[in-house]
Symmetry: C2
Subunit: 418 residues, 2 copies
Amino acid sequence: MAENLFYAQSGGVTAVINATACGVIQAAREQGGRIGRVFAGRNGILGALHEDLIDTSLESDAAIAALRHTPGGAFGSCRYKLKGLDESRAQYERLIDVFRAHDIRYFLYNGGNDSMDTAWKVSQIAERLNYPLVCVGIPKTVDNDLVETDNCPGFGSVAKYVALSMMEAGLDVASMARTSTKVFVMEVMGRHAGWITAAAGLAARRAGEAPHLLLFPEITFDPEAFLARVDACVREHDFCAIAVSEGLRGADGKLLGEAGSRDAFGHAQLGGVGQQVAELIKDRLGHKYHWALPDYLQRSARHVASATDVAQALALGRRAVELALAGRNAVMPAIVRTSDEPYRWDVGVAQLKDVANREKMMPREFISGDGFGITDACRKYLQPLIEGEDYPPYVNGLPAYVSLLNESVPALLPPFAG
Amino acid sequence: MAENLFYAQSGGVTAVINATACGVIQAAREQGGRIGRVFAGRNGILGALHEDLIDTSLESDAAIAALRHTPGGAFGSCRYKLKGLDESRAQYERLIDVFRAHDIRYFLYNGGNDSMDTAWKVSQIAERLNYPLVCVGIPKTVDNDLVETDNCPGFGSVAKYVALSMMEAGLDVASMARTSTKVFVMEVMGRHAGWITAAAGLAARRAGEAPHLLLFPEITFDPEAFLARVDACVREHDFCAIAVSEGLRGADGKLLGEAGSRDAFGHAQLGGVGQQVAELIKDRLGHKYHWALPDYLQRSARHVASATDVAQALALGRRAVELALAGRNAVMPAIVRTSDEPYRWDVGVAQLKDVANREKMMPREFISGDGFGITDACRKYLQPLIEGEDYPPYVNGLPAYVSLLNESVPALLPPFAG
């Protein structure tokens, strides 16, 4: 019997991570028996640690195809980072035990830079333990901050969502500015890298259109310079629309939105900087404001996903299976941009060790000299990533998103205490 | 030369108020000279008071057609309420002066219940001053709180948006609940009536799906009963998704989100109740939460408008012109539901005096006995309003929304000091 494949989703989910899952499972099914079953980790890598595997072979072809248009993580994801090989040796060994028990020879891990690090470490431990395992990472993050790939699946759709949301809200505010709201602030995701903030800037295609100002995590917040720009903008355009990153920092280096708590990866839990910035404007300039916090809506907005993003998410999933079967260990399929206009892309191969734990920030030349906008070079990079619409089917006025059976594979090992 | 028509948009704009404008202008253009020009008020009724009229006859047919798929208020709207006839007599007389100067014999006012009151009063003052004017109100409000119409244009699209946003965010949270966010709160619009909150409930089609709890403005918030339900929900489903109205009130009758400030209509400016409810859960039950505040995004989300809503908004605009030409004064075209399944609707005629200043709350039988959900009767009412997709055209990955020329009509009168 052919060996099995284990696939897990990691970290914050996206509008298209299930499209990658679709690509993985469809490609495996097309291999004509070269791959046995595809097991998915229930709640990500925790599913492997706790031997809680989902048997995807019980899902119909139609259900797997529907993953292509379903947001969220169909098998469950988790925020759980394995530490160093020595520190967490028992966990890494447990993974290998589970893989061995279920004849899993391919490990596909779909996540961000933390997850690429985990996949790389699993490949190392397998080698040390002399267990034949091919580890392939598959990129996924709305933050677009992975290196060695031109962009990350998940980002294009959130980029499209924030740009069109800003465009729509901007039209709303412009309509009402004469007697009502003059300032609109939308807080967007992106802890360290300003890619999503930059994407909001795509909404402004002509002078005076929203957004008028962008506040990047890469640029230290200067309240006085900012207020001067808001004031000038309201005088000129009668309103001012602003996109602000949740990761905006003041001159003291601290996050404006810092709430003090931290998530399981040790990242600060953010939120609220949008209102802080809006209140500052109200206090100092007296303008009535509204603010929006799309939060999870931005990263789950499959209803208006970028067709480019969906195609890439699917392609990377398929390519990961091909790489695994070719025995390419410790690699990650990556997007390679081969042409800007017309936009063309291909799937290349990066080494996990080059991707692990690194972050790709916005290049300074993508941010305008004053720090409040994006440059033409940035637009040229971002524009193709939001191109194309890929609507889900609708039933009774709402998207027909799929729920899988998610049947468990019977456990063969004793429970894991680690 | 034929007499002119004046059209103005009032109050908060919606995803489809421009579809109504499209219906008005297209119908007027098709009348073969029975109507001279259609003037629009720049920034709503203020445009009439200040004789700042937009000449829509300078817009191309293509631009007017594109209004059908463009959110916001294309001519500008305002929050400006005329007071009583005696109190604001100078303003009402000024309106008639401007109408007389520009040979305007039809006044079409597109707004909520405040605006229906204004349109009604304008019809009374015209009669007193013996000026031949036909006044027709056209309903518009995301709040769905106008009486004498089965539903209001603008509501169906915000209903669709909040339901699908809750569905998408719910899938996201469900994926991550094992190790991360367990509680998700989305704050929605609806100052007094819980229609939008109820619409979020459409996302849950099977037991256990988001949203699990709804907090209506019509139901006094009971923190202990609510926390007990959240606790039970997290135990059963591993997460809890909640939609809360910005108008939620405590036992003291005060708004939870009250910020103290008031808008031009004297309504309290709200916001923040979503986070308050989420913080309460965190404090008492210890669950990590995320919260979303779609704010203007919900009422400007033309990208995912309800086809039913767009069709009705357009039809009411067309019908208003027919009513005006027929000399039907002080009326409002209204949606009449003629069948639930299959859903069928027609356009009837209501009297402005019956609509003015009244609010349609959610019937108690639309809210479940425990106060935290919607009933089957409510679903039956809401379901057809979100049916159908009516996507705007896209260019370069973003909707191709139109910007009008909005050329001013030369003023003929001295400035208005009132």
